[in-house]
């Protein structure tokens, strides 16, 4: 089972559907902390250079099964966790994570991976001090994604689950299930739920409030 963060640093994660605005919110939080000259570090889901190529290859060829999809993301996470996240926490940084193990618990859970297997897989990772969950109806998430680009991607829409041959329908069904997974974890891991339909700056105000209440920011001053 995952341990609480016992390192000198603090760990903040954002979670939510694609299009929920979580990346924008953590970016603004990052900017705020940098502006205050705090020791802060940012890490993004699925961004390890080593693993990226394999993920791209797998997704492109649609070679991935739920198991290998899950494992390849866990590999990416382990690489970032052991080389960056944990050392930064030990070195007393505030570490911001755009998606964390909950993304895998939700997505891979929907894809049929056993809960206990997933929990074991990520058992080496500390539970964040704050997990911000951006709650958004899937119809709005869809609209936001499509504003940025013409179509949904195969895995993003959960097409591998065979829920529907229509990208949009599949996305909605997949998103509903992901949300149900998040809701199921919210209490166990103490998520802070934020209404992602609100204005960006209103959400950010809530985020900054939560962070400054729960974390003694003065302790993390950059020297």
């Amino acid at each position: 089972m995952n341990a609480k963060n016992s390192f000198p640093g603090r760990l903040i994660a954002v979670e939510g559907l694609d299009g929920s605005g979580k990346s924008t919110q953590i970016y603004l939080l990052h900017q705020w902390l940098k502006g205050m000259k705090r020791k802060v570090f940012f890490s993004e889901w699925n961004s390890s250079t080593l693993v990226k190529e394999a993920t791209r290859r797998g997704k492109k060829g649609q070679l991935l099964t739920p198991t290998t999809f899950s494992l390849i993301h866990a590999t990416d996470f382990a690489d970032r966790y052991e080389r960056q996240i944990q050392p930064m926490l030990e070195g007393g940084y505030i570490v911001l994570c755009d998606r964390y193990m909950f993304t895998s618990f939700a997505r891979d859970g929907v894809r049929g991976c056993e809960k206990s297997w997933l929990r074991d897989l990520y058992s080496f990772a500390a539970v964040p001090d704050i997990t911000l969950y951006f709650r958004l109806p899937s119809s709005i998430a869809l609209g936001r994604i499509l504003e940025g680009r013409p179509t949904l991607k195969y895995f993003e829409a959960g097409m591998d689950l065979g829920l529907s041959s229509d990208l949009t329908t599949s996305f909605s069904m997949f998103s509903e299930r992901i949300m149900a997974q998040y809701e199921g974890m919210a209490q166990e891991f103490g998520f802070v739920s934020i209404d992602a339909t609100r204005l960006i700056h209103e959400q950010q105000e809530i985020v900054r409030n939560v962070v400054s209440t729960r974390i003694e920011l003065s302790r993390f001053a950059r020297r």
Partner: protein, 237 residues
């Protein structure tokens, strides 16, 4: 009917896997590949279709594993998860397909080598066990047990040098390759011994001639075939 150590991976139907899965485990230079080649030939001569699988042969991540081994840039956990990805990719795409088609699949090493390697590098055995809990239970696992002096000899004879990874040089046991090799292989053997009790291996004495070992293997596989003739659809003999 095949089973997995715990539950099967999502989307995998075990009910139509008619083939046999035979695993040969053992260290490098234990003569594994020779034995597998001879066993395959013998089975094929009897009319069985044989498919060989091994570690690090998947399309998905084998390039990454090669790169990582050269540069030594991965943490042990990242490395082990890469290997696990590779394993499940092969299991789901190659092993299962071959078993479904009624092949005899001979695996040149399986999860046990991966588990042992991780455990001697400090992995929590429970973590490793869970990671590989969706692996298909083989119909037989043969472990070629080779004594250390014999293995040292064979390695030097066959390669003319010692391999960095097979000597466990990444563990920092000793700066001396020979010493490191001996100690690393002892640790590996000790872990294999533990797994052999949990996972029911047939232990084959590997300190013998190629022919002697092969005879043992064939006798064991023969028994296995007798038990499974109906499954393989060979009831007429």
């Amino acid at each position: 009917m095949k089973s997995c150590y715990k539950s099967p991976p999502p989307g995998v139907d075990l009910s139509k896997l008619n083939g046999l899965l035979i695993v040969i485990e053992g260290p490098d230079s234990s003569g594994r590949s020779t034995q597998i080649r001879l066993l395959s030939e013998w089975l094929e001569q009897q009319g069985f279709a044989v498919s060989q699988v091994g570690l690090k042969r998947s399309n998905l991540v084998s390039a990454e594993l090669e790169k990582a081994k050269e540069g030594n840039v991965l943490s042990p956990r990242t490395m082990s998860l890469f290997y696990a990805t590779d394993f499940y990719d092969q299991m789901e795409n190659n092993i299962i397909a071959a078993l479904r088609a009624g092949f005899i699949v001979i695996a040149d090493r399986y999860i046990f080598t991966l588990m042992v390697r991780d455990i001697v590098r400090g992995a929590d055995p429970a973590y490793t066990k869970s990671l590989y809990s969706m692996a298909i239970v083989p119909d037989a696992v043969f472990y070629l047990k080779v004594s250390t002096p014999y293995l040292v000899n064979r390695t030097l004879e066959a390669k003319g040098h010692m391999d960095y990874w097979e000597s466990g040089m990444d563990l920092g046991i000793s700066r001396n390759w020979y010493t490191s090799f001996v100690k690393y292989q002892q640790r590996i053997r000790a872990e294999f011994a533990k797994l052999s009790r949990q996972y029911e291996f047939e232990i084959i004495n590997g300190d013998r001639s190629v022919v002697g070992i092969q005879k043992d293997l064939r006798d064991q596989v023969e028994k296995l075939l007798d038990h499974n003739d109906s499954i393989l659809g060979l009831s007429e003999g």
